[in-house]
C-alpha cells in the first residue's frame, strides 16, 4: 500500500464526490434575484394602446404587484385570469401593474380585448425595464411594498394562494 498515493487520491476524490452529491437535485435554471430587499429601479412606461405614461414612483404608498408577461407565453394565459381576479379582489390593498416586453402592441391589445383586464398594462418596448428587474423569462412577478422596496419575486404562473401569500409578505394586509 502506497500511503502517499492513497492520501493524495482520497484528498482529490472524496471532496469531489461530496461536492457532486451536495449539488444533486440542483436546478441550474433557478437563479435567486439579487434585487430582493432593494429599492425598485425607477422607470416610467407608456400604457398599452394609449399615449398615457405611468411612473412607477407615483404608485408608492401601496404595495405593487408587477407582473412581466408576453402574449406568446403559454403559462401567461393560465396566469392572466388569476391576476385579473386578484386585482379586483385586492383593489384597495395593492396596485397591480402588467409589463409586457418582447412583443407587439397590436397583439397585446387584442389579447386584452379577448381576455379582459382590470389593471394597467405597460409596454416595455426596448426591454430595458425588464433588464433592470433582471427578468429571465415570462411570466415573472415582483412584489413591492408601499415604500417601493422589492420584497419578493415569483417565477412562473401565479395561483390565487401564492398571490395572497406574497401580498401578505408585501404588507398588503397590514
Amino acid at each position: 500500500m502506497n500511503r502517499k498515493v492513497l492520501i493524495a487520491g482520497l484528498v482529490i476524490v472524496v471532496p469531489f464526490i461530496v461536492l457532486l452529491v451536495m449539488n444533486l437535485g440542483r436546478d441550474p435554471h433557478k437563479v435567486d434575484s439579487p434585487l430582493i430587499g432593494k429599492a425598485s429601479p425607477p422607470f416610467s412606461l407608456r400604457q398599452v394602446g394609449t399615449p398615457a405614461v405611468v411612473d412607477i414612483m407615483s404608485l408608492r404608498g401601496k404595495p405593487v404587484v408587477l407582473n412581466f408577461w408576453a402574449t406568446w407565453c403559454v403559462p401567461c394565459y393560465a396566469e392572466h385570469p388569476v391576476l385579473v381576479a386578484g386585482a379586483r379582489q385586492y383593489a384597495d390593498k395593492a396596485q397591480f401593474v402588467g409589463v409586457v416586453y418582447d412583443d407587439q402592441e397590436n397583439k397585446i391589445v387584442q389579447f386584452l380585448a379577448e381576455n379582459g383586464s382590470s389593471y394597467p398594462t405597460l409596454f416595455d418596448e426596448s426591454g430595458q425595464t425588464a433588464i433592470a428587474f433582471g427578468v429571465y423569462g415570462v411570466p415573472e412577478t415582483f412584489f413591492l411594498d408601499a415604500d417601493g422596496k422589492i420584497v419578493d419575486k415569483h417565477v412562473g404562473p401565479l395561483d390565487p394562494a401564492t398571490l395572497e401569500a406574497k401580498l401578505r409578505l408585501a404588507g398588503a394586509f397590514r
Binding site: L6, G9, L20, M22, N23, R26, P28
Partner: protein, 669 residues
C-alpha cells in the same frame, strides 16, 4: 411482445455481465485457465445479448411499434428513416441502450483480439469491462428502462428532439462520441489489470496503447463534429462555447492525449508506468463524470438530456469507480516501479514531461472552471458563471505552449542533447515560424496571441514535416527506391511514427485555424426588405424573397438571397427557420458557404413572410473549413497508428535472439 423480449434480453445481459465479472475476477486472482475461458465466454455472451436488445429496439423503431415505451416517447411515423434510426440515441433511455451496444462491441472485439495473449491480465480486464457493462444493464433494467410496455399505445408519437432532426451531423456525432466515451472503458480495464497483476511491460503496453488510441481517435472526431454541428445549426457563428457538456467531452480527451505521450516515454525508458496508468484511468473516470454531467440535470447546458432521475445512480457509479481506482493505484502502483532512468531534462523525455504537465494543467483548469459554480453555490449559496471568457483566457496560453512543445519535443533527441545538437535542432525551424508569422501579418493578423500561435505553428510545422521526411531520405540513402522507401518507411515499419506526425501536422493546422478564425472574424447585423442588399467583405447579398417550404416532419421559412462575390454572380444562399409540429420554438438553420480561405455564414435573427423581410447576422469566418479538414487528417493518422501491425516478424526475431542467448522467450505474446 417486443417489450417483453426486450426486457428479458436486458435482464439476461445484466445477469451475464454481473456473473461474468465475478467469474473473471476469480479467474484472475486464482490464475485459473478454465476460469479465464469462461470469463471470455461470458464477455461474448454479454456482448451478444446487449446488441440483440439494441437490434430489437431498432426494429421496433422502424416498425413504429408504439407498445414499446421508448418508441412511444421518441418515434414518429412522419420522420424519415435516418431520423427514425438515429432516434435510438436521441433520448435518455435509448442513449443508455446504445451505450450498451457500443460497450458490447468493444468488449467483444477486445476480448477476441487479446484472447491468445496476456493470460494473466485478460481475466482482470474482462472483470472490469463486465462490471461496467453490468452497471449500464442495471440502468436499463430499472431507472432507465426503454422497453416498458405501453398499455394503450398511441397511433403516432412526437418524434425525437427537433434539434437532432435539423442536421445530418447530429446523426453521426453521437455514435462517434459514444465510440470515444465508451471505448475508454477498455483501456481502463487493461490499466486496472496491469495494476492487479502488478506488471506492465512492453508486451502489455501494446494493447493498452492500441485500445487507448482507438477511442481517442473517435473522441477527437466526435468533439470536432460536435463543434461543427453547433456551427452549422446553432447559428451564432462559433463552434465552441465552453459549455459544460463540451468540456465534459474535452476532459477525457486531454488526459488520454497526455497518456498517449507518457506511454511513449514509458516505452522508451521504462519510467512513468504508474503515471501512465493513472492518466488512462482518469480518462475513463472523466467519461463517467461527463455522463453524469449530461444526464443529471445539474449542469446548465444546451446538450444535456432533460432532467432525469438517473443522476444519483450514475453518481454512485462514478464514486465507486473513483474509489476503486484510487485503491488499486495505492495498493499496486509500487509494483510498477520505474526500471529505467532519464539522462537529461534537455531531451525529448524532458519535453514529454513538460507536455504531460501542461495537459494535466489544461485538464485541471477546464475541470475547475466547469465545477466551480457548484463549489460557490455549495459554499456561498450564490449562483455564478464561469464561461468562455475565463476558459479562453486560461486555455490560449496553455494551447500556445503546447504548440511550441510540439515543435521542440520532436526536434530534440532522446537521451541527452549537447549544446550543438540543441542549436542544430531548435534554430532552423525559426525560419518556418517567421514565414507563417509574416504571412499572417500581411493578411492583417494583429492580435498578439494569434501572431504567437502563427509563429509557433510555423515552427512546429517545419519540425513535423522534417520528421516525416527524414526517414524517407535515410532509407533512400540506404539504397531504397522512393516507392519502397515510402511504403516501408511511412506505411509499414515507421507507420506509427509517421502517423503520429500526421496527427501533429493536423493539430498545427487546427490550432492556427482556431487562432485565426476566433480573432479575425468580421460580422454585421442587417435588416433587409425584399430587393434590398447588404455587403460584407467581398460579398453582396440581395434578398429575393421569403418563402415557406413544407416537408413531412417540419415547415421551414427561408430567405432566398442572391450572392455576388467581387461583383460577379455567385449563386444563392437560403438560410432558414424550421418549425416542427411538436415543438413550439422555431430552430434556425444558418447557411454556411465554405471556401478554403473563409466561410460566409448567414443566420436568421427574425423572418416574416408577410412583410417579406428578414433580419440577418452576416459573418465572415476565416479558415474555419481547415478545422474540419485537418480533423479528418487527424482521424486518418489516428486510425493509421491503431491499425494492427504484423508483429510476428518482430516477435520471431526477438524470440530467436533470446534463444540464441540460451534463455527463454522474452516476449510473452
Amino acid at each position: 411482445m417486443v417489450p417483453l423480449i426486450g426486457r428479458t434480453l436486458i435482464l439476461l445481459s445484466l445477469l451475464a455481465a454481473a456473473s461474468g465479472a465475478i467469474i473473471a475476477f476469480t479467474a484472475g486472482s486464482r490464475k485459473s485457465v478454465v476460469g479465464a475461458l469462461w470469463a471470455r465466454r461470458f464477455a461474448y455472451t454479454y456482448a451478444i445479448l446487449i446488441s440483440s436488445a439494441n437490434f430489437l429496439m431498432i426494429y421496433a423503431l422502424i416498425a413504429h411499434d408504439f407498445t414499446v415505451g421508448y418508441v412511444a416517447q421518441v418515434g414518429s411515423r412522419a420522420t424519415p428513416l435516418w431520423v427514425t434510426i438515429s432516434s435510438l440515441w436521441s433520448s435518455l433511455e435509448g442513449s443508455i441502450l446504445f451505450w450498451g451496444l457500443v460497450l458490447g462491441i468493444y468488449v467483444f472485439v477486445a476480448t477476441w483480439t487479446c484472447r491468445k495473449h496476456y493470460p494473466e491480465h485478460l481475466p482482470y480486464a474482462i472483470a472490469v469491462w463486465l462490471a461496467c457493462g453490468a452497471f449500464f444493464s442495471f440502468l436499463l433494467a430499472g431507472p432507465a428502462q426503454p422497453f416498458h410496455t405501453v398499455l394503450n399505445p398511441p397511433m403516432d408519437g412526437p418524434g425525437p428532439n427537433p434539434l437532432l432532426q435539423n442536421h445530418v451531423l447530429m446523426v453521426l456525432h453521437p455514435p462517434f462520441l459514444y465510440l470515444g466515451y465508451v471505448g475508454m472503458t477498455i483501456p481502463f480495464g487493461l490499466a486496472s489489470a496491469a495494476l492487479l497483476v502488478g506488471r506492465l511491460g512492453h508486451e502489455f503496453l501494446r494493447p493498452l496503447r492500441t485500445w487507448l488510441l482507438l477511442p481517442w481517435t473517435f473522441l477527437t472526431v466526435a468533439i470536432v463534429m460536435g463543434g461543427w454541428w453547433a456551427y452549422e445549426v446553432l447559428g451564432w457563428g462559433g463552434y465552441w462555447a465552453w459549455d459544460p457538456v463540451e468540456n465534459a467531452s474535452f476532459l477525457p480527451w486531454l488526459t488520454a492525449t497526455a497518456a498517449l505521450h507518457s506511454a511513449l516515454v514509458m516505452e522508451r525508458r521504462s519510467i512513468l508506468k504508474g503515471w501512465t496508468v493513472t492518466l488512462v484511468m482518469a480518462s475513463f473516470l472523466l467519461t463517467v463524470l461527463g455522463t453524469f454531467m449530461t444526464r443529471s440535470g445539474v449542469f446548465n447546458s444546451v446538450h444535456s438530456f432533460t432532467q432525469s432521475s438517473i443522476g444519483p445512480t450514475i453518481l454512485a457509479f462514478l464514486a465507486v469507480s473513483l474509489v476503486w481506482s484510487v485503491l488499486i493505484l495505492a495498493m499496486r502502483v509500487d509494483h510498477l516501479s520505474a526500471e529505467g532512468q532519464i539522462d537529461s531534462g534537455k531531451s525529448r523525455e524532458g519535453a514529454f514531461l513538460a507536455n504531460n504537465l501542461l495537459f494535466v494543467l489544461f485538464t485541471f483548469t477546464v475541470l475547475i472552471g466547469t465545477v466551480f459554480p457548484l463549489v460557490v453555490e455549495a459554499v456561498k449559496g450564490v449562483q455564478m458563471s464561469v464561461g468562455s471568457p475565463y476558459f479562453n483566457r486560461m486555455s490560449v496560453p496553455i494551447g500556445v505552449a503546447l504548440l511550441f512543445l510540439m515543435g521542440v519535443g520532436p526536434a530534440l533527441p532522446w537521451g541527452r542533447a549537447t549544446k550543438q545538437q540543441m542549436i542544430k535542432a531548435l534554430v532552423p525551424p525559426i525560419i518556418g515560424g517567421v514565414i507563417l508569422l509574416a504571412i499572417g501579418f500581411a493578411v492583417g493578423a494583429r492580435n498578439a496571441w494569434t501572431l504567437l500561435a502563427l509563429f509557433f505553428g510555423g515552427y512546429t510545422a517545419q519540425v513535423t514535416l522534417r520528421e516525416m521526411w527524414l526517414p524517407l531520405v535515410q532509407r533512400m540513402k540506404g539504397g531504397a527506391g522512393i516507392g519502397q522507401a515510402l511504403v516501408e518507411g511511412q506505411l509499414v515499419r515507421g507507420r506509427r511514427r509517421f502517423a503520429a506526425y500526421v496527427v501533429h501536422a493536423a493539430v498545427v493546422v487546427i490550432i492556427v485555424s482556431i487562432a485565426v478564425s476566433s480573432t479575425m472574424q468580421q460580422s454585421t447585423e442587417v435588416q433587409l426588405m425584399k430587393g434590398q442588399s447588404a455587403k460584407i467583405g467581398p460579398y453582396e447579398l440581395t434578398l429575393q424573397g421569403v418563402e415557406t417550404v413544407s416537408e413531412a416532419h417540419r415547415e421551414g421559412v427561408l430567405a432566398r438571397l442572391s450572392v455576388t462575390k467581387n461583383g460577379k454572380p455567385s449563386g444563392e444562399m437560403l438560410p432558414r427557420m424550421n418549425y416542427y409540429a411538436m415543438s413550439k420554438d422555431p430552430i434556425g438553420t444558418p447557411e454556411v458557404r465554405t471556401t478554403l480561405t473563409h466561410d460566409l455564414y448567414l443566420s436568421i435573427m427574425n423572418i416574416d413572410e408577410r412583410s417579406q423581410s428578414v433580419g440577418l447576422h452576416l459573418i465572415i469566418n476565416p479558415m474555419v473549413g481547415w478545422i474540419w479538414i485537418a480533423t479528418g487528417v487527424m482521424a486518418l493518422g489516428g486510425f493509421m497508428a491503431t491499425w494492427p501491425t504484423k508483429s510476428r516478424r518482430n516477435e520471431a526475431i526477438l524470440r530467436d535472439a533470446a534463444q540464441a542467448r540460451g534463455g527463454e522467450a522474452v516476449v510473452e505474446s
